[in-house]
């Protein structure tokens, strides 16, 4: 019998998958599964250490769209060339598929995908007499936040990520930067935090979240904001599209029937104003059980799996954002009022052309280079310091510029 060791992140969809694996093991009695569930940062650090040192501890790793291109490039991932005949690769959404492929070969299979969008409270908007037509700009968003902000009654104008981290506040701030025409690096790999675009973006960010956000915003990530929104404390929330299924779930959300969705705000441009992300399952090179692992991945990312989830938990809870067919499925569209917005957002995100000016890297809200995690986190901290009021926007930007410059120089980019 083969034992597959699977490293996963501890989010809801993954945990749901763990519970449903009986379906897989009954079909494949000769395969047993061993789960290693970790919090996102810990997971990333564990699997990266392991794959980079060829530790060989895992057969399947849950990895993001950030890792896939880098690792595939290095030859650390086994190509998924044997997913079965009825896997239907072409059903994968193009943006997502591009993000996990190299030379047209799939190196990881997307489990779910997301972009970002705005969730807001219909009831509060109505009360304040605000109507949403078309895509908002950040300036408009700021105005709305001002109107909604009513901390005495426990409602904050807007909730955004504030917790430092390249996958936390920087995911949002990068899209804001993109909207203001900024980019991480110019063509020579020089960081560009000294430009006016970043200044404008960060001014907006600190202003809107610092003044019309909840207290403690600097430690709010996705989960914290979700809690806040679900307990009715946020007027708006711009975050991952997957949040939609949670905020509309009456079991978890007090405001399930008051939520509406729209695209993430633009500023000088809409290019790159919403991010693209997917959690994917990949097989490290050197795994002894590539065949069994492919079987599992095929199962977990298949259309059948979606139906399995739907049959057990309802259509609203299936992992979204990976397959076109899902968004053509009437049952899903009925159960998921957010489906259209999600599809729109994902389709409009392009990892290659995500900035107004040309850029040398791949990724909307990140740059797919090994150094980025460290850089993103450091910059994220500097920006969260600005949000906390510990430094000014200018200071934060020049600190970010300096530290990124150091890292890039040290890494030998110039």
């Amino acid at each position: 019998e083969t034992k597959l060791t699977i490293a996963t992140v501890n989010n809801g969809d993954m945990i749901r998958m763990q519970k449903l694996t009986d379906d897989f093991t009954s079909q494949n009695p000769d395969i047993s599964l061993e789960w290693v569930t970790l919090e996102e940062n810990t997971l990333r650090q564990r699997v990266t250490t392991d794959i980079a040192t060829k530790g060989g501890q895992y057969d399947i790793m849950t990895i993001g769209t950030y890792e896939v291109p880098i690792w595939a490039e290095k030859g650390w991932l086994a190509p998924l060339d044997n997913l079965g005949t009825d896997y239907d690769v072409d059903d994968l959404m193009p943006a997502i598929r591009a993000a996990v492929s190299k030379d047209d070969a799939l190196y990881a299979a997307p489990f779910y995908g997301e972009s970002s969008m705005m969730m807001y409270r219909k009831d509060l908007f109505e009360k304040a007499g605000i109507e949403v037509n078309g895509r908002l700009t950040w300036d408009q968003t700021l105005d709305i936040a001002k109107k909604l902000h009513d901390p005495d009654n426990g409602v904050y104008g807007i909730c955004l990520r504030g917790k430092a981290g390249w996958g936390e506040n920087m995911a949002l701030i990068s899209t804001m930067g993109n909207a203001y025409g900024a980019r991480w690096f110019d063509e020579e790999w020089n960081p560009t935090f000294d430009g006016p675009e970043w200044k404008a973006a960060l001014d907006m960010y600190t202003n809107i979240l610092g003044n019309y956000g909840p207290p403690g915003a600097t430690s709010n990530g996705f989960n914290e904001n979700l809690s806040l929104f679900n307990s009715g404390k946020c007027g708006m929330w711009i975050d991952a599209t997957v949040a939609a299924s949670f905020v509309t779930n009456p079991k978890e959300s007090k405001v399930a029937d008051q939520v509406a969705f729209t695209e993430a705000p633009c500023a000088v441009t809409c290019t790159g104003a919403n991010w693209l992300w997917a959690w994917n399952l990949g097989i490290p090179m050197g795994s002894q059980n590539v065949e069994a692992a492919q079987k599992f991945i095929a199962w977990a990312t298949s259309k059948e799996y979606l139906e399995l989830v739907a049959s057990k938990e309802g259509w609203a809870n299936v992992p979204p954002g990976t397959r076109i067919s899902l968004y053509e499925n009437p049952k899903y569209l009925e159960a998921a009022p957010f489906a259209d917005e999600t599809l729109l957002a994902i389709d409009s995100a392009d990892p290659i052309n995500s900035t107004l000016k040309p850029k040398p890297y791949v990724g909307v809200q990140f740059a797919a280079i090994p150094e980025f995690q460290g850089i993103g986190t450091t910059v994220g901290q500097q920006f969260s310091a600005a949000l906390a009021g510990q430094s000014t926007v200018e200071e934060a930007l020049s600190a970010a510029q300096a530290s990124t410059d150091r890292t890039m120089r040290k890494a030998g980019y110039y």
Binding site: K19, E34, T53, N230
Partner: protein, 276 residues
């Protein structure tokens, strides 16, 4: 000094002390209480203290998600295993240092302690590479070795101070009685130092139980202890406080109980015999 305690003094001191004590204990109490709430109640304001629907669903869910007992068993094996291995080394070393000291003994002791001041993450990569090459990743044996080495300095220190308190006479008497060195240690030294050894073991079990860096970074599943278990709860999506509390309660309960039972012993252990 106790002679003039008035009843009033007794009551007010007691009341004050209890208030302080309960404040200090409050986070743990609150954690346990929250673990019996539903997720919505866990975040509700004002918080509910008793009048909520007590539920075990969080525990059920935690157990469904990850097999608590497997992790707990690993914690026990690692903690006890590393302590036992450590004991063998530490006893011999402490014996030698206490009863056959040389000029270097004090230096050696302090050097041992200073090995504990290095941030482990600084040597993660070398260790990880070595573990990989020796096939020790995710093995209990490998982790037992790491925990043993981490705690060895403290064990040696503690045992050293206990052994120092044992009169040399008695060991000499055993020698006059014809005991060989192993017999001297097994029949005379160890039984006499039993309280000290017990406290050393307890402290090391606690330290090993709570060690969160190596146990997380060198394991995947087979050898993963409760620290890895809790690492999967730190922030899943959705409301999670109640589940988090349940998992936390499960992770700390065994060691908390052990700690409580052994607190008297521990004091001796922790003080390196410094407080008579």
């Amino acid at each position: 000094m106790e002679k003039k305690q008035t009843p009033l003094g007794y009551i007010s001191f007691s009341a004050f002390a209890w208030v302080v004590g309960l404040l200090i204990f409050f986070p743990i109490f609150w954690m346990v209480l929250t673990s019996f709430k539903s997720e919505l109640e866990a975040v509700s304001i004002p918080p509910s203290f008793i009048s909520f629907d007590w539920t075990l669903e969080n525990y059920v869910e935690v157990q469904e998600r990850s097999n608590y007992f497997k992790f707990a068993m690993n914690s026990v094996i690692l903690a006890v295993g590393s302590t036992l291995v450590g004991l063998v080394f530490a006893v011999t070393c402490a014996w030698a240092m206490a009863f056959n000291p040389t000029k270097r003994t004090k230096d050696a002791l302090l050097w041992m302690l200073s090995t504990k001041m290095m941030p482990p993450v600084g040597v993660l990569v070398p260790i990880y590479l070595m573990f990989r090459d020796w096939g020790l990743l995710d093995t209990r044996f490998g982790l037992i070795m790491v925990l043993f080495l981490m705690n060895l300095p403290i064990m040696v220190w503690m045992l050293y101070t206990y052994f120092k308190e044992i009169p040399t006479d008695i060991l000499e008497a055993a020698r006059m009685d014809g005991a060989t060195l192993p017999k001297e240690i097994i029949f005379v030294l160890l039984p006499m130092a039993l309280p000290g050894i017990a406290s050393t073991m307890l402290l090391n079990v606690i330290l090993a139980w709570n060690e969160a860096f190596w146990t997380l970074n060198l394991t995947t599943s087979d050898a993963a202890p409760l620290t890895a278990f809790i690492a999967s709860y730190s922030s899943p999506e959705g409301l999670f406080w109640a589940k988090l509390s349940a998992a936390s309660t499960l992770a700390v309960a065994p060691i908390l109980v052990i700690g409580w039972f052994s607190q008297k012993q521990l004091v001796r252990g922790l003080t390196f015999g410094a407080v008579k």
